[in-house]
Symmetry: C2
Subunit: 477 residues, 2 copies
């Protein structure tokens, strides 16, 4: 389903060509005339294509010579390295809690002027004013709201709008199949509790979201870390090999779209193959779709759940990154485990409060939601690319980085010999907080990496902080 305007489709086409190196920095972009002929489009569409790519910093106009692919500092950076296609670690169950908590506690205790450790954005990215107004409206429309029990399973209007939106990611859900949760994190807890027992092995991406490792540890489950590529996500070969080699795998958890911390998007063929393979093996597949809404392209990314035929895929998602970091709205559609998940949710925390659901249902049903998402995408992309440019400009030689097409962070491979633990501490002393690679695995494998948030406008203050951080990395090398 392509609902994008024609000029956007063409712009994407050339953008991919540039990203793939088919058109190189400094090369001339096909002229407007060529574009008109080649794609049978009007002058105005051809011009829009070039202007759009110019506005995104991909092309530059040279007076009287036309458009050229802009040389980018980051073009000088090597992409982050691919994982070694070796066997994953045997399932481990170590004190990730302790490690993460220590890092978080030290981060919180320090006085920090620049916090790049988080994975959510600045308030300015979010429609706080209309959400506030929607909440006030909901309070006025439901004056007895706080005196009434909370609606079981979630507010019906909110569940309905979630189900409707899921269509765009090619899922076919009814509102009845959507259970509202306290963010994606509660959804993940419920999914894991529904499909596995303490002691069971769960395959996860490596590097992967540290919060998931904490959940697994707290539930007494064992994380089996599967190598994951910055380009294509979890390695299906490694996963299949692991399934032959180790204990029974009870479940797989993946972030198929804009993985944290890598930003990888799984190719469609990988998504389909993963769903089929899990179904064949009888392994529960849990998808965490927290970041889809931050993708550069307007065309929605597909969910794993869209390939689900027998209820074996559990879809978990959240509005925490894309609409409102100040709310705790997530949801789960748990396929054949859905009834069990409903029960566990009731037992674990009872249904969510109604107010923010009412406010968001109101907002999401209006055109304002799509306008917000468009603005969010553009702002995040700009911030992400500015940050990447700055890193390319000032980080020491040997730094590697793949700029993803969405998400709230950049995953940076530091020059050989740098330890993220050292950089974390040294940066804190400079008033800068980052997320050390160590947090994203039970192993020490990612100590050479750091994750930086691109959730903030690229101000002069941020630029200065980044230069200071570059010095810290240089000294750590």
């Amino acid at each position: 389903m392509h609902t994008e305007p024609l000029y956007r489709q063409l712009a994407s086409h050339y953008l991919h060509a540039i990203q793939a190196g088919t058109l190189r920095p400094g090369e001339r972009m096909p002229s407007v005339r060529v574009l008109m002929q080649r794609h049978d489009v009007s002058l105005s569409t051809a011009l829009q294509v070039c202007r759009h790519l110019e506005s995104r910093g991909v092309l530059e106009a040279r007076p009287r010579s036309g458009y050229f692919v802009r040389p980018q500092a980051r073009a000088g950076l090597a992409p982050a390295s691919e994982p070694v296609a070796a066997l994953p670690d045997p399932a481990r169950y170590v004190g990730i809690h302790q490690r993460v908590s220590d890092i978080v506690a030290r981060g919180q205790a320090a006085t920090v002027h620049t916090n790049l450790s988080g994975a959510s954005g600045a308030p300015g990215l979010y429609p706080t004013e209309p959400l506030k107004n929607a909440a006030i409206r909901a309070l006025r429309q439901h004056p007895d709201l706080f005196g009434q029990g909370v609606p079981t399973l979630g507010v019906p209007e909110f569940r309905a709008v979630i189900a409707k939106r899921a269509l765009a990611a090619r899922m076919n859900l009814s509102a009845d199949e959507v259970l509202i949760t306290q963010g994606c994190i509660e959804a993940l807890n419920l999914a894991l509790r529904a499909v596995a027992q303490p002691g069971d092995v769960i395959a996860v991406e490596s590097p992967g979201f540290y919060g998931l490792l904490q959940v697994l540890e707290s539930l007494g489950m064992r994380a089996l870390e599967i190598p994951t590529s910055p380009q294509t996500g979890i390695s299906l070969e490694a996963l299949e090999l692991a399934a032959q080699t180790y204990d029974r795998i009870a479940g797989v958890v993946v972030v198929p779209n804009l993985q944290n911390p890598l930003g990888a998007v799984m190719p469609e063929a990988h998504k389909e193959r993963l769903v089929r393979w899990c179904a064949a093996q009888g392994i529960a597949l849990i998808e965490d779709d927290t970041y889809s809404g931050t993708h550069n392209d307007e065309a929605p990314l597909s969910a794993l759940k869209s390939w689900d035929r027998d209820g074996g895929v559990i879809h978990c998602a959240s509005l925490h990154k894309t609409l409102a970091p100040g709310m705790r709205l997530g949801w789960i559609s748990a396929g054949r485990w859905h009834a069990r998940v409903e029960m566990l949710k009731f037992t674990q925390s009872r249904p969510n409060e109604a107010l923010s659901q009412l406010a968001v249902a109101d907002f999401m049903a209006s055109g304002a939601y799509d306008r917000h998402l468009r603005r969010l995408r553009v702002m995040l992309r700009d911030q992400r690319e500015q940050l990447a440019e700055a890193i390319a400009t000032c980080f020491p030689a040997g730094t590697r980085l793949s700029v993803p097409n969405g998400g709230l962070g950049l995953w940076i491979e530091m020059p050989q010999g740098c330890s993220s633990a050292t950089v974390f501490d040294a940066a804190l002393r400079e008033g800068i907080r980052i997320a050390p690679g160590l947090m994203f695995s039970n192993s020490n494998r990612f100590d050479g990496f750091i994750r930086l948030s691109c959730g903030f406008p690229y101000t002069r203050a941020l630029d200065q902080a980044l230069r200071r951080l570059a010095d810290v990395v240089r000294r750590a090398g």
Copy 2:
């Protein structure tokens, strides 16, 4: 600490005498003159005592003869039976989930005009208007609220007001020792996860809150049901005996004040003994203090935690019954497990949203909160006593009932031979929903009981429904 006015203290004194049968229905209350001499109080205080008891329906004025203890229909009811002081059941782990879910599902599927199955009150009991206004104020004061991350561990003002309020129940907590949760139910989950593992044995009250049995089952822990008295709460003898007889007990969960479903309040001496005994045995003691605020008397009930010397008591509570059924605000103070509980909360659901915390902190810091609690107590007491009167009037002979001094329900022992399962189904067919005794234990021991909510005003419609329910019980006998 008695901060009650003198006339209230004296009124309580005589109320207890009446409840204990020292002054019997129809007997003359000591005259105002006698009260003045006996207690060395003024005429106006003595009059206040009598008028207060009259307003509570305990005394009646007879023209020119003074005050008399009012004959009460329910005086004809025997108190609910005491538990047999036998050994508790061996720890069980059966499908309470399934049983409770079936009952809940059937209740929800039926068309019901009178729902007496719940344990919360009608919206009219709660200050919905000022809470709504406080929420709107909070939104205006924090226009970026939904765009900012949620405050870790809870909103500071809210944690501070909870800590301050805890003083009245003789607990000495700092705001740092209060973690905000999704209601008491999340607090209980966290407490149990912190102190015990799957497979561990947890001692609980029997009959007891069915939600706790669900939590235990979902966590794979085994409930050891300890006989519990409608007057004095959990049987300490039975608990001590159980500890000698069965597996190691990892924790004890009790509702010391206004237990659900019995309404029992543990005597102070029992509270102290239980805390000391658990400390000596190294058994974690989890207290669920959900209902204290509904006590008839203004003087606050003491918390088990007020006897805690070594951090062995975990205090869990909630505003769901006493302030706002439409919010999900609870908290936990977990003594020596507090750091672990903080981590588990983060891992399970992240911190609560800020808005309702801000609204409630605002409301609770004002005098309006105490005014609300006073009104709630009086309204609930009236509703409870009217319901009890009606049951005494129209339920079949052999019905037994102890009217508790607070709480949101009545626990009714039906005449021999009645089954709560039968009564539940038959009542549903009449459009009336009740909570069958079967829900409150993993055994069938309480099938002879039902719990009715006293959260609703005693209207004519309710009176009619109750008469129809009485007929249902009669037919089931």
